[in-house]
């Protein structure tokens, strides 16, 4: 057998050492902040319902399952972590691997490292302060400025449209006017067109030399965030951008079990409409909400991208020991 030329790591040894240093700094940060490190299962019988995410699946053979039980590799640890919140553990964080099928590119890899943390009794605005402090600590840039822009304000200012009001044809026309090519006959729903405009026209200018928190999303993009009635109904959700790259996504967490169950079913309907598999719902998570999860803010932060920002590299492969093509 000839030796494979792909045996060495894709990341420079310095990047691998920098990852270890980053993890140490993160754990130090949370020790001082009084947030407890936890572990929850990577493989579970239920999967996230988010229609934008596809799970990888494996199979467990054991007592009661002679033919095997499908276990889904987590796309995020949020459901089991919220069960821990409902059990009364207090502020918690986790550093873990998550898995997303079909995602591969300069900023995407099918398995990646996520830092997720929850603060019971904390609002999402206050959590953004803590996210900024943590990122400044990891990047060793204590003076890195930070700003907050609302989703609606950004679209109005940069694209001259109201993302709550604009219809599909207006969004398509705006995308064409912005010079995006190949989309004349593309079939997208309203949120799809908003995503197109956000990713192609707006994201590259977000977080240039600063931490930009994009906040208060359309309710159709609430995911697991609580809704608030302002002039319009907004989802209390934020994303953090640095140098055009999305680093984190956070919520004022939805704790109402009926609203959560309704969102699960809406997600299932979306998946069915798109002709995709519907996955078993996490009944234990719903039971935890019924038992009472404290009002909390939570956030998930992509550690590979954070390390990329720290090392000023453009491709995720520069911070991964062995990307999927080498395993």
């Amino acid at each position: 057998m000839s030796p494979s030329p792909d045996w060495p790591p894709s990341a420079a040894l310095e990047a691998i050492r920098a990852r270890a240093a980053m993890l140490a700094r993160l754990r130090g940060f949370f020790a001082v902040a009084g947030v407890l490190e936890v572990e929850t299962p990577i493989a579970a019988r239920c999967a996230g319902s988010d229609p934008a995410l596809d799970s990888l699946v494996t199979c467990w053979h054991g007592p009661g399952y002679p033919r095997g039980l499908p276990l889904y590799l987590q796309t995020s640890p949020e459901f089991p972590m919220k069960r821990l919140l409902a059990a009364g553990l207090g502020p918690i964080y986790q550093i873990c691997k998550v898995f997303r099928d079909g995602e591969r590119g300069r900023l995407h890899h099918p398995e990646f490292s996520l830092l997720e943390w929850y603060r019971p009794g904390c609002g999402y605005q206050a959590l953004m302060d803590e996210v900024a402090a943590l990122v400044r600590c990891v990047l060793e840039r204590p003076d890195l400025p930070s700003e907050r822009i609302t989703y609606r304000g950004l679209f109005r200012e940069r694209l001259g449209l109201d993302p709550w009001a604009a219809g599909v044809s207006a969004l398509r026309a705006r995308a064409l006017a912005a010079g995006i090519t190949g989309i004349e006959s593309m079939e997208l729903d309203r949120d799809g067109w908003l995503d197109l405009l956000l990713t192609h026209c707006l994201e590259p200018g977000l977080g240039v030399g600063r931490l930009t928190f994009l906040t208060d999303y359309p309710p159709s993009q609430a995911a697991l965030a609580r809704l608030r009635v302002d002039e319009v109904v907004v989802a209390e959700r934020f994303e953090l951008y640095l140098d055009g790259v999305e680093l984190a996504n956070g919520f004022q967490e939805l704790t109402d079990v009926a609203a959560q169950a309704a969102r699960f079913h809406a997600d299932q309907d979306t998946r069915r409409r798109q002709g995709r598999v519907t996955l078993p719902l996490d009944e234990s998570f719903l039971a935890a909400l019924s038992a009472g999860m404290p009002e909390s803010a939570g956030v998930a932060l992509g550690l590979d991208r954070l390390l990329m920002a720290h090392l000023h590299v453009r491709h995720i492969d520069a911070v991964l020991a062995f990307p999927v093509e080498r395993v």
């Binding site: 988010d50 934008a52 079909g102 995602e103 591969r104 590119g105 300069r106 900023l107 995407h108 995006i180 090519t181 190949g182 989309i183 593309m186 079939e187 997208l188 949120d191 799809g192 908003l194 995503d195 197109l196 956000l198 990713t199 192609h200 994201e203 993009q221 995911a223 994303e239 999305e246 996504n249």
Partner: protein, 189 residues
Amino acid sequence: MANYNTSEFKSGLKIMLDGDPYNIVENEFVKPGKGQAFNRVRVRNLKNGRTVEKTFKSGDTVEAADVHDTDMQYLYNDGEQWHFMDPASYEQMTADATVVGDAAKWIKDQDMCKVTLWNGLPLAVEAPNFVVLLITQTDPGLKGDTSGGGGKPATLETGAVVRVPLFVQSGELVRVDTRTGEYVSRAKE
């Protein structure tokens, strides 16, 4: 005809767009954490060489272009058409000036060329990276100059004109890089 899903996109993949064959030069996967994914690609039209950007919704499919490269031997030019032969099957094909393009400046009988076929017909011809050609005309250089600094134009047997050092003379063979059109060195047969 086969189709490709966007998840199969990578540079070098040949796809059909608006009736023309294209080569994917660069594929960027763009996806908000909680939203619709897109493939933003730069593609080169294999008929006219122009590069354009196109955005696809991830999961969409696009028709595959039946395009592949094959090594063929250049036989001769009959005044209008360039004739090539597959050295394995001895099958012959002809290509016109638009297909041969810049390669016409560099190739001579017997040269092995990379011919790109679309639906079995020549779409483009690429000359070998390096060719050895005879200088048919160049002004006499200064005696004793060996530095090559400055240089002078020289016409080659194929009609191409390249800059050569002053010490290189008519009747000599030179090695040329066809990708840059630059003289590399003198050559023996």
